[in-house]
């Protein structure tokens, strides 16, 4: 009991220093995060809505994707079509969470990182771009884009 409390306190203090900023810890193995960030499995339909939303997912500002009702799509980044064929779920997860771990020069925003950023606007300070649940939804959606 006491040991349990101690562990809880320890976790809380770690969380307080490193991850109180809206992101929970995760483990990177190779170029992937194999463990889901959230308890609930991702929902592809919700993920699609997040990707399509210009002020939530922001994805279509830079990427195009098989979402025909969104007419104005970007071409700064590869098409999302086929993303689920090119990458595993675990690889997709890391690329959304913090692509800079794979390529420090990437222009892909770190969707699940709050550290190492400069001059973040007050309303977004300490917050990740997407929540753990939202990232799982997006990963679940992208995984369906096999071609």
């Amino acid at each position: 009991m006491r040991a349990g409390l101690l562990v809880a306190a320890l976790i809380a203090s770690i969380a307080g220093t490193a991850w109180a900023q809206g992101a929970s810890p995760y483990t990177v193995v190779g170029d992937a995060i194999s463990q889901p960030l959230a308890d609930k499995p991702g929902d592809p339909a919700r993920g699609r809505a997040i990707v399509a939303n210009r002020s939530v997912g922001l994805c279509l500002l830079c990427h195009s994707g098989p979402i025909p009702e969104e007419r104005f799509q970007g071409n700064l980044a590869p098409s999302l079509a086929g993303a689920g064929g090119r990458w595993s779920v675990a690889q997709l997860r890391l690329r959304i969470v913090d692509g800079a771990r794979l390529n420090p020069d990437t222009i892909m925003p770190p969707y699940y990182r709050t550290t190492g950023l400069q001059r973040v606007a007050k309303p977004f300070e300490g917050k990740t771009i997407l929540t753990a649940e939202q990232i799982e939804d997006v990963v679940a959606y992208l995984a369906t884009l096999k071609e």
Binding site: R54, L61, R71, L76, I107, P109, L117, Q118, V120, K127
Partner: protein, 254 residues
């Protein structure tokens, strides 16, 4: 003796044409617009910015403040030719650079001894647009003032620095990805050729500073306070980067 001279002359010629080619590669946002918007900018009776230029012309001649002097009482209009194409510049007796709007505001309070004009106010933008319009068609020509150098360097550093929750820099979009589509919009090279300019998105005339704030907000970075030297530093850098390009104010942009 002849040979080196010929060589030198041809080298100079090649240099000049190389410079010209390099200059020609730069694109004003004007060139990225559709024909309809270009026509709107080119036609003074259709360019909404010209309404502000006209208002500025009236204000230019209107006495103001305790000094009861109009701009026109001290400045000849001919002297305004080229001014906007070389700003920002060091403030007289000051240690900081100011942009064109800053210059107008300073004149307003110090020389006219009038109430300050609010940043981005209709009066300030109109006066700036009227002065800027006197430089329309001239090449952008920042002054070779060594005091500007550290500010230009500061602006260049800000331009390259990643900022905000989206962790983007000016350079990522406007150098590395200019010409590509951000959503449906062509990313411009960010040459400040037309300020103050009329943006359809704003339904208003606006300053370069306002445009810079927009981008900062877009990448979810903390916008600098409106009187921050960072904006002027960026403006100095951008004007230097656009050196030799044609000044267009009042521009029209989507």
């Amino acid at each position: 003796m002849l040979l080196p001279a010929v060589f030198a002359a041809s080298f100079a010629l090649a240099q000049a044409s190389a410079d010209k080619t390099a200059a020609d590669k730069r694109r004003s946002g004007y060139q990225d617009m559709g024909a309809a918007l270009q026509k709107m900018q080119d036609d003074d009776t259709a360019n909404p910015g010209m309404l502000f230029v006209q208002l500025g012309q009236q204000l230019w001649a209107k006495p103001a403040g305790a000094a009861n002097k109009a701009c026109a009482d001290c400045h000849s209009l001919a002297d305004m030719k080229g001014v906007a194409a070389r700003y920002p510049a060091m403030a007289k007796d000051g240690d900081k650079p100011i942009d064109l709007e800053g210059r107008v505001r300073l004149c307003r309070t110090v020389n006219q001894q009038a109430e300050p004009l609010a940043p981005e106010s209709r009066e300030l933008l109109s006066l700036a647009a009227f002065v800027a319009n006197q430089s329309r068609g001239l090449p952008i020509a920042p002054p070779d003032d060594p005091r500007l150098a550290p500010f230009r360097a500061q602006g260049a550093a800000i331009y390259q620095r990643r900022q905000g929750q989206l962790n983007l820099s000016c350079a990522i979009c406007h150098d590395d990805n200019a010409g590509k589509k951000l959503a449906g919009v062509t990313i411009p090279e960010a040459h400040p050729t037309g300020y103050p300019l009329y943006r359809l998105e704003w339904q208003a005339l606006g300053s370069l500073k306002r445009r810079l704030r927009n981008c900062l907000i877009g990448i979810r970075a903390e916008a600098y306070p409106s009187d921050a030297v960072e904006y002027v530093a960026l403006e100095i850098y951008l004007m230097d980067r656009a050196r030799g390009m044609v000044f267009e104010s009042p521009g029209v942009r989507p």
